[in-house]
């Protein structure tokens, strides 16, 4: 069978050709200068080129991987080094990014490439405008980079056939599956070499919490900027990114919660109306989805705005994490953050917040003790990707630690 090769050359290749093409790849040292330079070049082109600047997600990626940030990552990497260990790359990492978040493949590639790995990326046959644009810059930058950066990445594209996934999996030391539960369980059936590791990103649910009294203390302009930040978190991917909030918890007494909610959502709607094209099809989808939610859940109030719908639930008992996206927000009032812990579950990923003391948030994480929540960030940062994601430290995960014991290590403790 044939697959489409997109990098290092555009071609249609058989699986055996692909295997031999990859045979020459050698891992680099972590933070190899040429690899870092190539990343900087890509960042600058994404920030500079008009055809990339058209897409806010490419601009965000360019900003996230800007020079200063890469140097900061290198510093963080150096802090991971220990006297008795050598940090080395895993080897070859096979990335399976999702089709509908265009930039993930570069985020995934970047942390792995900086760690020194060879990278094998499978892209979907259907590629959106921003993906094509990003792919073009990505290939141009790598083609013109020195050999260590140029010759350690392969990008292929194929449909849902099993054979290429089997072949590529057999060549890798680590497999990274981005996507939903279904993708993860489908691809997990394809075996890995016994030594290889796997990192998966399953379906997640994310929520926000606001201290109602703290919100009510804000002046109108601060309320407006919080609404804008909440908009950024939720609307960028129509609430379909795993870290986009779908449930908003108002902490405080009922009167404060009601007053805060009555002020907040109209602000979010107004901001959305002036910053986003509202698709009538999405409204119809949302009207149907909220009707179904009313039938299935303990919804006690319904508020429909052009850009969003708010469904108030009486409590979070057995609250289903299934969510259709499309800017449908559930909200619930709780007396305090400590009441939230019992309602959270493994699927809950990001908690975005406003108005709490850092101590309260740390306490919440401690009470949860790994049972739920992998990220706690202020409202406005839900979509900011980082090395810590879904409970993993990606920089660490893309490496191996080679333990080098000195004579002292042999002594009994």
């Amino acid at each position: 069978m044939q697959v489409e090769m997109l990098y290092p050359r555009r071609d249609t290749v058989g699986l055996e050709d692909l295997r031999s093409a990859m045979a020459g790849g050698e891992a680099n040292r972590p933070f190899d200068d040429d690899v870092v330079e190539a990343c900087i070049e890509l960042s600058q082109r994404l920030l500079r080129e008009p055809s990339a600047r058209r897409y806010p997600e490419l601009l965000a990626l360019g900003f996230w991987m800007r020079k200063a940030e890469l140097y900061r990552l290198r510093q963080q990497f150096d802090l991971m080094r220990r006297g008795d260990c050598l940090l080395v790359p895993c080897g070859t990492v096979f990335h399976l990014p999702p089709r509908n978040v265009d930039t993930i493949f570069v985020y995934s590639w970047l942390l792995s490439a900086l760690s020194g790995n060879c990278n094998l990326i499978r892209l979907s046959r259907e590629r959106s405008g921003p993906t094509l644009e990003l792919l073009r810059f990505f290939c141009e930058v790598l083609e013109n980079a020195p050999p260590s950066a140029r010759e350690s990445t392969w990008i292929v594209s194929y449909g849902h056939e099993k054979e290429p996934t089997e072949m590529l999996s057999s060549l890798c030391d680590m497999r990274v599956i981005w996507g939903g539960d279904h993708t993860v369980s489908t691809i997990r059936q394809v075996p890995l070499p016994p030594h290889a590791r796997e990192m998966v990103f399953a379906d997640r649910f994310s929520l926000s919490a606001i201290e109602a009294a703290a919100y009510l203390d804000l002046d109108p302009s601060r309320r407006g900027s919080l609404a804008k930040q909440f908009f950024d978190d939720a609307f960028w991917f129509d609430q379909m990114a795993c870290s986009s909030p779908r449930l908003l918890i108002w902490c405080g007494d009922l009167a404060d919660a009601r007053a805060a909610s009555a002020d907040f959502f109209p602000r979010v709607n107004n901001y959305a109306m002036s910053h986003k094209v509202i698709e009538p099809a999405h409204l119809m989808h949302r009207f149907l989805a909220s009707s179904l939610a009313v039938l299935d859940r303990s919804v006690i109030a319904y508020r429909r705005f052009p850009a969003l719908t708010v469904l108030t639930v009486a409590n979070l008992a057995a609250f289903s994490r299934n969510h259709p996206g499309g800017n449908l927000f559930f909200e619930c009032q709780l007396d305090g953050l400590s009441d939230l812990a019992s309602a959270l579950c493994r699927r809950d990923q990001t908690l975005t917040w406003f108005g709490f003391a850092p101590e309260d948030l740390k306490n919440l994480a401690a009470v949860l003790n790994g049972r739920a929540i992998d990220r706690i960030v202020p409202i406005g940062q839900a979509l900011q990707f980082g090395r810590f994601w879904d409970g993993n430290d990606l920089l660490q995960s893309f490496c191996r630690q080679v333990f080098i014991g000195g004579p002292d290590a042999l002594l009994p403790v």
Binding site: H182, D238, M284, V294, G326
Partner: protein
């Protein structure tokens, strides 16, 4: 006209004889009663209305009546009758790959639908059954496993004809000898032609246009599948003028309707606009605010009908776009809202990191 008109009275009136203001008065009281009827008999409906339309107790105009999204009938079987009174469950054919709608009918509602359709059809066909040419293959109703809204629609319409002749075979090829025989026997007097719009255009007209058949005494009733024609960029005017030119057929009536409100169809008038019959109406709503829009502004179509008593489908927000051109237009033979359908609301994909790959595998 008394205020206390019943559904029976509405079905006895000629279907386009009520002025919009008279109709709204009658429908408001009927549909308010119907909302209460469903609220009492369907706990799901009661829950939806109580949460989504909490202040809709005493509506002062049709636009204030609570409505449901039409897609709900694809997701849930909503019923206002006890299971033992369910006469049949209608199922829509749906677009390929989509979940069908399911509509619960009891005998009374099924009967109302038949009477309603008859009132509308006899207004253009006259009181007698006419010889009928079906732009279909006999297989559509022969294969009961494939029996769907298309078959049901066909059977419903066959009641208005006699000496039925199928114009197409199972490969959608013209059965020319049968059609010629039909025209020889019946082509000198009024006869009925019925079919789905796309078949009438792409299978029927394309195969007969060079044959010189005389359909001038025909009355063509067609519906559904405009989307495929719009993809081919065929307009209503082209459709009509092609039939006139090649066959002499001039009496052509398209209708707009859906399985969620069977019987309550919107038949084209001579002016080429759809009109609601006396027992139904439409409201055009703003796609963003859902507020009622004035005449002349395009928006989302809500359909209202007094027929659905066995399921809460009397006020439904569709996924179609439409526009009201005039109300009680002077010079028209019909009263009420003259409207046209502009097509479906364009689809728009949601993005995000959900399961796209695996969904396609399965």
């Amino acid at each position: 006209m008394t205020v206390a008109m019943t559904v029976d009275d509405l079905l006895r009136e000629p279907p386009y004889s009520l002025s919009q203001s008279e109709k709204e008065r009658v429908l408001l009281s009927e549909l308010t009663e119907l909302t209460g009827h469903h609220r009492q008999r369907s706990s799901e409906y009661a829950r939806l209305i109580d949460v989504i339309f909490p202040h809709s107790g005493a509506p002062s105009k049709l636009a204030e009546l609570p409505y449901l999204p039409v897609g709900l009938f694809k997701e849930r079987l909503l019923s206002s009758v006890p299971p033992e009174e369910v006469f049949k469950v209608l199922q829509s054919s749906g677009t390929t790959g989509q979940t069908p709608s399911r509509i619960t009918l009891d005998r009374d509602t099924a009967l109302l639908q038949t009477r309603a359709l008859s009132r509308i059809m006899t207004s253009v066909l006259g009181p007698d059954r006419l010889p009928m040419l079906l732009v279909e293959s006999p297989d559509v109703i022969r294969d009961r496993k494939e029996f769907n809204a298309r078959g049901a629609g066909l059977l419903g319409m066959m009641n208005f004809g006699r000496q039925h002749c199928y114009a197409l075979d199972s490969n959608l090829h013209l059965r020319l000898p049968e059609v010629r025989q039909f025209l020889k026997s019946h082509g000198k007097g009024d006869f009925l032609i019925f079919g789905f719009t796309f078949l009438v255009w792409s299978a029927f007209l394309q195969q007969i246009h060079s044959l010189g058949l005389d359909l001038s005494k025909g009355i063509l009733i067609h519906s559904g599948g405009w989307k495929k024609l719009q993809d081919q960029a065929v307009t209503t005017d082209e459709f009509r003028s092609a039939f006139r030119k090649f066959t002499g057929l001039t009496r052509i009536y398209n209708f707009y309707g859906m399985v969620e409100q069977v019987g309550s169809i919107f038949l084209e008038g001579d002016d080429g606009y759809f009109y609601p019959p006396s027992f139904a109406d439409i409201i055009i709503r703003d796609p963003l605010t859902f507020e009622e829009l004035p005449t002349g502004q395009p928006g989302v179509v809500e359909v209202l009908s007094v027929l659905p008593r066995s399921y809460p489908g009397h006020c439904l927000l569709t996924e179609d776009l439409g526009i009201v051109h005039a109300i009680d237009p002077p010079g028209s033979t019909r009263l009420g809202k003259a409207f046209s359908i502009l097509g479906r609301i364009p689809r728009a994909e949601l993005r995000g990191c959900s399961d796209v790959i695996a969904e396609q595998v399965n």
